[in-house]
Structures are given as C-alpha cells and as structure tokens.
C-alpha cells in the first residue's frame, strides 16, 4: 500500500470535517460512510446510511468532481468507491496554494487556480465560458448565486439545495460529473459583472472571509477579492504572461486565459485530468501489474524470484510512466499563434523539456460551441491542480524560513532564489514509487542531471536586485571579492560599499560566499558540485527533509520537556540503543536527573524501551534495559498527534461558532452587512470582534499545523530503519 494511503480513524475524522466545512453536510456524510466502511459500492453506501440512492448519488457527484473519492469499475457490473484522503486533506491547504501561486505567478494565475480548485477540475472551454460568459446564460447565473448564500443551515437535510459551492448539484445527472464544470463557475460570473442585488452578498463574503487566513475556506473569498483593485506588486518576474498587462487581478482576455493556463501547465502546477487519477493506489497498482503481466509474461505463469523482481520493477516503472503522462503539456495552438505573433515566451520554452515531450496535438474533438473568441483544440482539455507541485512550493518556503532563522535574511533570499530555479524542474518532493533496488548512495563522485544544478551566476542574475547581498557576511570575506575597501577594527568596511552597485562578477562571488555559509551549516543546505558558473551546487532534498523532520520533533520535545528531552533524543540518535548508565555517560548527567525525562518521553511515545534478558528466567533485575529512539516512529507519532490536534481545533471552531450563531446570523443579514455600526449594539459589535479574534487564532494554528504536517509527511517518504 502506498504511504500516502496510510489511514487512521483520526485522519478520516479530520478529512470528514474538512469536507463538511467545504462541501456541506451531504457530501461529508457520504464521505464519512466511505471513510468508516472502506471500499463500497453504491448499494453498500445506501445500506450503511439513512439516505436513498438518489441522495447518495448527489453526494458522490460532488465528491467525484472534487476528486475526493476514488472509484474503480474494473469489474464491469459494479463500481467501487473509496475515499481519497490525501485530496481531502489538501482542502485545508487551499488558501496556502493560492498564496504560493500568487507569489510565483501573480494574482491572475492564483485567481485562475482558485476557480479551478472550486470546480475540482474543468474543461478549458468551460473555464473560458465562466470567465467570458455568453450573455444568454447570464440571468440564470445570477439567480443561482443568490440563493446560494442565503440557505446557510437550512440546506442540511435537503440535498437538492445544499451548499456545495455551486457544483451542479441541482441536476443530479451522474453522467455529467466527470468533465462538466460549468455550473460551478456560474457564481464567478456574477463577480465579474455583478448585478445590483448580488453586491451585498459578495461583500459579506469578503468581510467574513477576510478573517480566514489566506482565504481559507477560499472558494468565495478569492472571487470577491478579485473585484478589489489592488496594486499588483507581487508578480513574479518570471511570469512573462502577466508582465505587460495593466494592473488587474482578473484575467482580461481569452488569450490571457490560455497563456496563464499554458504557463501554469509548463510550471507543473496544472495537470491534465486522467481517468487513472480516479484509481486508488491499490487499483492503479493492480492495473499496472495486470498490464505488465500481459505484456511481459504473456503465456506463462510467474516463476521464481527473478521474475517477481522483474515484475516489481516494471510495475513501478509503469506507474511512473502513467504519472509522467499526466504532467505532459499538450501542444497549445493558441500559444503557438501567440508566439508567432508576438515572439514572446521564448524563454519559457527552454524549460519545456523537463515535463516531457510535446504531445503532438490534443486528440479530442474540436469544441465548436464556443460563443466567444477563437476555439482552439485544447479547449477540450480537462485540467486540475497538481498537489504534488504545491508540496514542492511549500518546501521551498519552509526551507527559506529555516535558513532565515539560522543564517539570516540575505542568505535565505539567496537560497530561495536557488530553490526557485530548481522548483521548475522538480515535479514532486520525493519519489513515491522508487525502484525496489535503491540507486547507489552518494559517494564523492555523484552524477547529477544538469537541471538539478544551480550555479552561483544563475542565482546572482535571478535574485531580486533590491536585496542587500552583503548583509550577513563576514566583512573580511566581502573585501576579498568586492571593491577596494579595507576592514578597519576587524569589523568596519572602509570606505563603505554600496551593496546595490556591485558588478555582476562581484555579485556572483558574493553569492558564492553565501553558498559557502549554506554548505557549512549542519543542515548542508547545498552541496558543491563543480566549478561551472563560478560554483555549481546541488541540493540533497532528502537529507534536508530528514533533518527538518528531526528539527520539528526536537521543537516539539523542547516545548514539552525543555532542553533535557532534546538532549536525550540527540544522545540516543548518536549512540543508538543505550542502557541507563551509558545514557548518563553520554549526557554527562546523573541517572537521577534523567530518569524522569526518560519516563515521560516513553509515555509520549518518542522513546522506545527494550528489555533483554540475561538469564533464562527473564528476571527484571537481571535484564538489560535499553532505551532507543526511532525517527520514523517519532515522526508518525507526531504526525498523527498533529492530525488529532487539527481535528480538535476544527471542533473547537465549530463550538465557538455555535456560541455566537445567532449573532452571526444577524450580522450576515444583507441589510446589516456594511452598516454594522448602525444596526448592531455595542455589545454585539464587541462580541463579533471577539469571535473574529478567536476564529483567527484557531485558523492560524490550523494553518501552522498544516505546515507541520507537510514537513512530517509530504517532503519525504517513509524512512526505513533496521
């Protein structure tokens, strides 16, 4: 079973709460049935619930559209459903996804992603339709958006009305599910050209959800934000598509829409939707295995371990190949036109190689019903967000923060630039399906593919020129490379150097000094590779990920048991299994002082104990008592505790909300919104403010716990310990 499929009641609970918060009661009830009962057929779900088949189907529609369930119809007669808890967990991350995307590709791209997430997946033509609607559908869309927000809690028992974020719950045709996302976008239309009466509703959304961190739950907030004109300061310079546009957060033209989608696909943030993505890990494995068996061993049964290994290797290879296919960027006719016309995007095309070869052309039929702009063959392409890529971006941010904490701001910015260059080439944080035989371990002579290497010169060219690169360095190292200054009194530069006017070569050398700092840190943030481009570096993400997991565990222990607990963990990590006396010796402390800590840590599950009898009778007195520490165990323990912590936060949030429910109802009334001071009493206003503080505080911790989950679970596969 895949590591990502590890399941436990607490994660099921957490996912269930997330689904409920995001997609309402019906979807979450169906989800919870699947979570509790495991793989089920439709009939099975009906049996396990108080719903009828029609209602269940409506729930499943939402779940399938959002990729929250897997389904497999390998058996022709019946379809099995199974939860996709990883996707469900990712719901907590949506706000973060948008922030990350915005920092990298600008507001328009993040806006696009926000819509895409709301829809689960979408046909490009439908997205286009949503952004630039044909006038005929407009009025219907407005109606839809109206009642959507009013029916807060009343909708619970009425699936037809339930607030599922506009996914087409009202028509209930299951045949529509997979590729149809149009209905869901309709609400977006209202925000792009809002009618009079829709305005207050949207404002309400804006107001309330502004308190959500980074737009979580983001589905509504992002659209309303888009109306507010804001200076578009944070556009990544790499984003060639958006650079020349006027400052606006909303995609302005169909060309721009295509360009943004194309760019995001090339960057790996958007992938194609494939039927296979609906297969659970087990089904996918079975399918690959079946294919391989049919191809490689057509007429004979598998015999012996040799065949078995061959099958294993071929299977994971096949699975990797499936996955690479999803990442391939098809040929975009719109983009080729644009390139021909404007000659832009040349720079970006260099990066294309890594995502695989061009697919000659989208196989599907041309879409002809497009009402505006030109129709392109890629209109029929169905796309979705790539969560693996999000993890890569999260890792970049986390590592930057870590470096900043350890080595200072400038070095962190150098590192971020370096990681940014690498990020394009990293499809995922770790290989989920590695070859059974691991590749040879790092020796002195490691061959690394060139796109995983970054030179000091690359960084010097790419880094934001507003960053003072001299900051954070030893003045003596600076004068070696820059200008004619001298170091006076060991510390002062004389004459001072303007950090923003150093030549390119000098900059490269200064970047190299930062790299040295990164290398000499115990985390070994970078590893020297060659002298190309002044100095060329690689990053051993696996080791760093392991070290950050260790760091988080140590942080947790510090918070709970202070420095002594951490010392114990480190001693055990360094020395392996120890008995009490050896532990004392290593830590240079008396047994009396550490005994209590050891006990507490054993209870908390961070430290394991082992008893080895020295005589046959296994007397406790005559046995050797060892304590030891296993990173993987501690990691899992902390990870599941964190999931549990997240569940508690969400439960508390619901409780707190319950306490102020009547007040919120009043505050959300359309006539009150915007005129709070007029209609609410002072006490109510205070209570409202307090509720927002409480909500903020809880959501902030939820967000930070998700960061911890990412560190512990998403950056590195399971650690194998002997």
């Amino acid at each position: 079973m895949s590591y990502k499929q590890l399941d436990s009641p607490i994660t099921a609970k957490l996912c269930n709460l997330l689904v409920e918060a995001e997609y309402g009661d019906l979807a979450s009830r169906v989800f919870s049935i699947l979570a509790r009962h495991g793989r089920q057929t439709l009939a099975g779900i009906v049996r396990a619930s108080y719903f009828n088949g029609r209602q269940i189907k409506l729930g499943l529609v939402v779940l399938v559209q959002q990729h929250l369930v897997f389904y497999s119809s390998t058996d022709q007669r019946v379809t099995y459903y199974e939860i996709n808890w990883h996707q469900a967990y990712a719901l907590v991350r949506i706000g973060k996804v948008l922030t990350l995307a915005e920092n990298r590709f600008g507001k328009k791209a993040s806006n696009l992603l926000s819509n895409l997430i709301t829809l689960g997946h979408a046909r490009i033509a439908d997205l286009k339709e949503a952004y630039f609607p044909s006038s005929a559908e407009k009025s219907a869309a407005d109606d839809h958006s109206d009642d959507d927000d009013d029916d807060d809690d009343a909708a619970d028992d009425n699936p037809d009305d339930s607030r599922v974020n506009g996914v087409n719950s009202s028509n209930g045709k299951i045949s529509d599910v997979q590729l149809n996302g149009t209905r869901g976008v309709e609400r977006r239309k209202s925000s792009s050209s809002p009618p009079e009466d829709a305005k207050p509703i949207l404002n309400l959304d804006n107001d309330l959800e502004a308190s959500y961190l980074n737009g979580y739950p983001p589905t509504n907030a992002s659209t309303t934000e888009s109306k507010v004109p804001q200076a578009n300061g944070a556009v990544d310079p790499t984003n060639s598509a958006n650079d020349d546009e006027p400052e606006n957060d909303w995609v302005q033209s169909t060309e721009e829409l295509y360009a943004t989608i194309y760019h995001l696909m090339r960057q790996g943030w958007i992938i194609k939707v494939d039927q296979m993505q609906y297969l659970s890990a087990g089904d996918l494995d079975a399918m690959a295995r079946k294919e391989i068996t049919a191809e490689e061993f057509p007429n004979r049964p598998l015999t012996g371990p040799k065949d078995k290994t061959r099958l294993e290797i071929a299977t994971v290879q096949r699975k990797r190949r499936y996955r690479e296919q999803w990442l391939q960027v098809p040929y975009f006719e719109s983009q080729s036109d644009k390139r021909k016309a404007a000659g832009v995007n040349e720079k970006a095309s260099k990066r294309l190689k890594i995502n695989g070869t061009y697919v000659s052309r989208s196989e599907s039929a041309h879409s002809v019903n497009s009402t505006n702009g030109t129709a392109y063959p890629e209109d029929d392409l169905v796309i979705r967000l790539n969560h693996e890529k999000v993890a890569v971006a999260m890792r970049t941010e986390q590592l930057t923060r870590l470096v900043q904490h350890r080595l200072g701001f400038s070095t962190a910015q150098v590192y971020r630039t370096l990681l940014g260059i690498l990020e394009v080439n990293l499809a995922r944080c770790y290989e989920e399906w590695p070859d059974p035989v691991p590749p040879p371990q790092d020796g002195i002579d490691v061959q690394v593919e060139p796109h995983f290497l970054v030179t000091a010169r690359d960084v010097a060219e790419k880094i934001d020129p507003a960053i003072d690169l001299l900051d954070g360095l030893d003045p003596k190292a600076i004068v070696k490379h820059v200008g004619n200054s001298k170091v006076v009194e060991d510390t002062r530069l004389d004459p001072p150097i303007n950090p923003f006017q150093i030549s390119r070569d000098e900059k490269t050398k200064i970047v190299d000094v930062h790299m040295q700092l990164l290398q000499s840190d115990p985390f070994r943030f970078v590893i020297w590779y060659s002298r190309a481009g002044y100095s060329q570096w690689r990053v051993d993400f696996e080791k760093i990920a392991k070290a950050t997991i260790e760091l988080e565990i140590e942080n947790t222990i510090t918070a709970r048991k202070g420095p002594l607990g951490v010392k114990l963990i480190r001693a055990l990590k360094k020395k392996g299994k120890l008995d009490e006396r050896q532990a004392c010796n290593t830590m240079m402390m008396s047994a009396h002082d550490i005994r209590g800590t050891i006990n507490d840590m054993v209870v908390q599950g961070f430290v394991q104990t082992q008893e080895i009898p020295r005589v046959d009778r296994r007397e406790a007195k005559l046995s050797i008592h060892l304590i030891w520490y296993d990173l993987q165990r501690a990691r899992e323990k902390l990870l599941y505790d964190t999931y549990k912590g997240m569940v508690r936060i969400m439960q508390r949030l619901a409780f707190e909300k319950e306490q102020v429910a009547s007040l919120l109802q009043k505050a959300e009334r359309t006539d009150v919104v915007g005129n709070e001071a007029k209609y609410l009493t002072k006490r109510e206003l205070d209570a409202l403010r307090k509720w927002k503080d409480v909500e903020n505080k809880l959501l902030l911790q939820l967000y930070r716990q998700d960061e911890l989950v990412a560190t512990l679970g998403d950056f590195l596969g399971p650690l194998v310990t002997i």
Partner: protein, 337 residues
C-alpha cells in the same frame, strides 16, 4: 612523587602479624634518629638502601637492616620493592600510631587496600583475599573508616561496587571517572561552569560581533542596521579548547585531558550549544530563539495537553469542554456536569 610511584610496588609478603616488641634501647634511639633524618627529606620521598646508608646512622649494613626492620615493625616505614630492589617510604607518626592500634584483621585489610593504591579494591575481592566472614569484614572496614584510614568510593565503571582505598589517596579515573565526575557521579556544577566558559570562549573564537555601522552605506533597510553576530572561519578543536581552558586557570587540581574535553564538547553539541563542523572542529550555533514559538502543534493547547490521549470527539474531555482552549482563547467552554 608521581614518577617513582608508578614503578614502585608495595612489598606484599612482609608484615604478617603483630610486630616484635621492644628491641634494645640503643637501637630504638638510632631508629628514631634514622626516622628523623628521613623525615627531613621532602614528603613522599622513597629511600633506597644506598640513600639510607649515606645518612650515617647505622654503622653496618646489618645494623641498618635491623633498624629498618624495627621501623617497619613500628609502622613508621613501609617496605616496597622497586626494580627488584627494596626501598622504603616514610609514614607519619600519627598514622603509625593508628596502625599500631589495629586488630590483626584490620591490619591485613589495611595492607590489602594499601596494595591497590588509588585503584581501590572491591569489598568482595577483599573478602576473597582475606577469607573473613562478611560480618567481620564489614565490621573491620567500618572501624578502618572510622579511624580515618581508608575511604570508600562508588565505582564509575560498576556503579554498585564499593571500592576501598586509603584515605589520603585520590581515586583513580578508572574508579572515580574523569575530571567531570566526583563521588561516582557527574559533577553538575563543574560541568555547568566549564561548559559556560567554553561556550563564551567558542563564541569569541568563532563569531564576530558586527557593530551597527559595519558598512556605513546609507540604507533604508532597518534589519541590516542591527548589530549582530557573524561567523568567522576559525573553528577550534578539542585540543585547542582544552589548552585555552587550562591556561585560564579556572580548573584547579584537576587535569583535563583532550579526551575529557572532547567528551564535554560532544555533550555540548547534544545540548545544542555547539555545532560540530568536522571530525574535531566545533563552533557555536547562531540561532536565535527569542520568540517562544516552536511549531503549530505545540503552540496550540493540544500540543502540551496532559489529557491529549484521553480527549475524544465527545464526552467529558473534548474540544467543546476543554479548559485549555478556553484559557487560550479566553472564551467559555461548555460546562461538564
């Protein structure tokens, strides 16, 4: 003292039972004379026969032997063998008096303990050598301890063994552990003090305090205009730290070997005070933990909750009724009845 004593073995076979009584008065005078002469030499001196004969107290060699035998009998001198040559060492008169008052068993025990010098001898080994009963043994040892002749220490190597050695001796490292240990346990105060000294020394060696205006270029960025520590590429080793600490003269009457310092430095790495850069080099960690913030989990109430494992979705202990959440958010939790 240190150098000869390593080669000198205490003569084991002599001294079985009670000393012979009363030799001639003349001899006694002469013996005292010899003793006094020897006492003029620095304490701990070891006398060979040639040294004693050159004192011109005895007339003949046989008389000298006689005198020495007498002194040994009176416990004023201790017979030892070095390089197959007999030699003698002086005991103080007080000590000799005490020894004279010992019972025979005690004297044998004392002898055995004395033989082991600063290595000490395990009480069980003593019993095996002397064939005494356990009660007799413990009684004798107690009385020896009461007379301030021997001391017992806990062995570091075998924490449940009581090792006996003479009162005036420092237990060897094998028994008492390195300089960081005292009385069989780590000397927390000493370790703490020295590690603090080492820490500040390392900081001086591996860090540079930059003043605010290190690069007096007008900059709008406030963060770069703050005095702060920078690293310099000079990482001390265990040996250099040891030398520096010893030269500071903080540690008296204890010698710290390179290994001892390495042990301390390794421990400080575990403590997170130092970082190991390479095989033998260390440097300080420059990480600021000004803010009390660890990670999302432990900063929320659940991370430190004593009843976390008991907490459920509903029931008496749940998120709704949680007092810690209530405290943290300053809201009311659901009361439990």
């Amino acid at each position: 003292m240190a150098t000869p004593s390593t080669t000198v073995k205490v003569e084991g076979s002599a001294q079985p039972a009670a000393p012979a009584e009363s030799p001639a008065p003349l001899d006694q005078n002469r013996a005292d004379q010899l003793y006094n002469k020897c006492a003029e030499a620095p304490e701990g001196t070891i006398f060979y026969q040639r040294d004693l004969s050159s004192m011109h107290v005895a007339e003949t060699t046989s008389q000298l032997t006689q005198l020495l035998q007498e002194l040994v009998d009176r416990h004023l001198m201790k017979l030892m063998i070095s390089d197959n040559e007999p030699c003698w060492k002086l005991r103080s008169r007080d000590e000799a008096d005490k020894l004279r008052q010992l019972s025979p068993e005690e004297r044998i025990l004392y002898h055995h303990i004395d033989q082991e010098q600063n290595k000490g001898i395990w009480s069980k080994a003593l019993r095996a050598k002397t064939n005494l009963t356990a009660q007799a043994l413990s009684k004798c040892l107690k009385s020896l301890e009461a007379k301030n002749l021997v001391q017992s220490v806990m062995s570091v190597k075998f924490p449940n063994r009581k090792m006996y050695l003479l009162k005036h001796l420092q237990p060897s490292e094998e028994v008492a552990g390195g300089p960081w240990q005292s009385e069989g346990d780590f000397d927390a105060a000493l370790i703490d003090t020295i590690s603090r000294v080492v820490e500040s020394y390392m900081q001086k060696e591996t860090c540079l305090n930059l003043p605010m205006d290190w690069n007096q270029y007008p900059t709008s960025d406030r963060t770069s205009a703050i005095a702060r520590k920078k690293r310099i590429q000079n990482y001390p080793t265990a040996l250099s730290v040891r030398n520096a600490i010893m030269s500071m003269g903080i540690i008296k009457d204890k010698n710290i070997a390179e290994q001892d310092m390495e042990q301390l430095l390794e421990m400080m790495v575990l403590d997170g005070k130092l970082e190991k850069v390479s095989g033998t080099n260390y440097r300080t960690c420059i990480t600021s933990r000004e803010v009390e913030s660890y990670n999302g989990f432990v900063d929320a109430p659940c991370g430190n909750c004593p009843v976390f494992e008991l907490c459920g979705d509903e029931g008496e202990i749940s998120a709704r009724t949680c007092v810690y959440f209530g405290e943290w958010l300053q809201t009311e939790s659901e009361p439990v009845y």
